[in-house]
Symmetry: C2
Subunit: 138 residues, 2 copies
C-alpha cells in the first residue's frame, strides 16, 4: 500500500468517523471534523469538547480507530486507521490547532477548559476500494 495514496485520500475528506470503546466495552462512533494537522504520516490531531463522552472513553481506554470514506457514483473507498488516542490539554497543543472560528464552539477561546486536542497515533490500517481490501502498517 502506498502511504501517499492514503494520506492524499484522507486530506480530501470533509468528515472522519472516530471510534472509542465505552465503559461497558461497547464501540461508539462519532462523526468529527477531519484532522487539522498530521505529523510523520501516522499522527493525526483533532479537537473536541473536553466534557464529551469520547474524551472520557479515551482516558480509560486509548484504543481507537479513524475511518475515512467516500461513496462515489461508481466506486466506494474506505480507509481505516487503528491506533491509540491521547487527550492533550496543554497550552502548546491547544494553540497548535486553534482557529479563530473555534470561538463558536469554545466561547472562552483557546484557554477554554472545554476545548482539548486529540492526538491519534496510527499503528496499522486497512484500505478498501470496491471489492478489494489491503492491510498496511504505518
Amino acid at each position: 500500500m502506498n502511504l501517499d495514496v492514503v494520506l492524499s485520500f484522507i486530506k480530501k475528506q470533509r468528515v472522519v468517523m472516530v471510534s472509542s470503546v465505552d465503559e461497558t466495552g461497547c464501540p461508539n462512533i462519532k462523526a468529527m471534523f477531519p484532522p487539522r494537522r498530521t505529523e510523520g504520516g501516522n499522527v493525526f490531531y483533532l479537537s473536541t469538547n473536553t466534557s464529551s463522552k469520547r474524551v472520557a472513553h479515551f482516558r480509560s481506554n486509548p484504543q481507537s480507530c479513524l475511518y475515512f470514506s467516500r461513496r462515489g457514483l461508481i466506486s466506494c473507498t474506505g480507509i481505516m486507521l487503528k491506533g491509540t488516542m491521547e487527550v492533550l490539554e496543554d497550552e502548546a497543543s491547544k494553540l497548535l490547532l486553534w482557529k479563530p472560528t473555534d470561538k463558536l464552539y469554545y466561547p472562552l477561546g483557546v484557554t477554554d477548559p472545554d476545548y482539548c486536542v486529540l492526538k491519534f497515533t496510527a499503528a496499522e490500517g486497512r484500505y478498501y476500494r470496491n471489492l478489494k481490501k489491503e492491510s498496511f502498517t504505518l
Copy 2:
C-alpha cells in the same frame, strides 16, 4: 426523542458505519450498505461476507454500534445506535434479505456460504444535531 424521527432519518441514508471490537480490544469501523430490513423499530438487518473480519469480531464479541450521519451545507445530524450483533446463516434469514443483484458479490447465490446476515438489536441511542445531543432508549 421521537423514535419516528430517528427511523425516518435512518431510512434516508445511503450508508451506515458499523463498529465492532477486534481481538485486541480495538474498535473497528466499516462503511456498509444501510439495513435492508427493520423490525419493531430496534432490530436492523444487514448482509455481509461470512469471511469478513467483522463477522469474526461479532462471533467473539457481539457488542456493536451503527452510526448514520448527514453533513449538509448548514446542519450536521448523527444518530448512533448501540446494541448487539448476531451472525445468522440459516436459509430463512438469508432469503429474507436476498436480492438478485447480490449475485455480483455472492456468485453462488443465496446459498453462497460467504453470504450471511447480520442482525443488530439496538438497546440505546444518541442523537446529534449541530451542537445539540440527546440520549434515548429503544
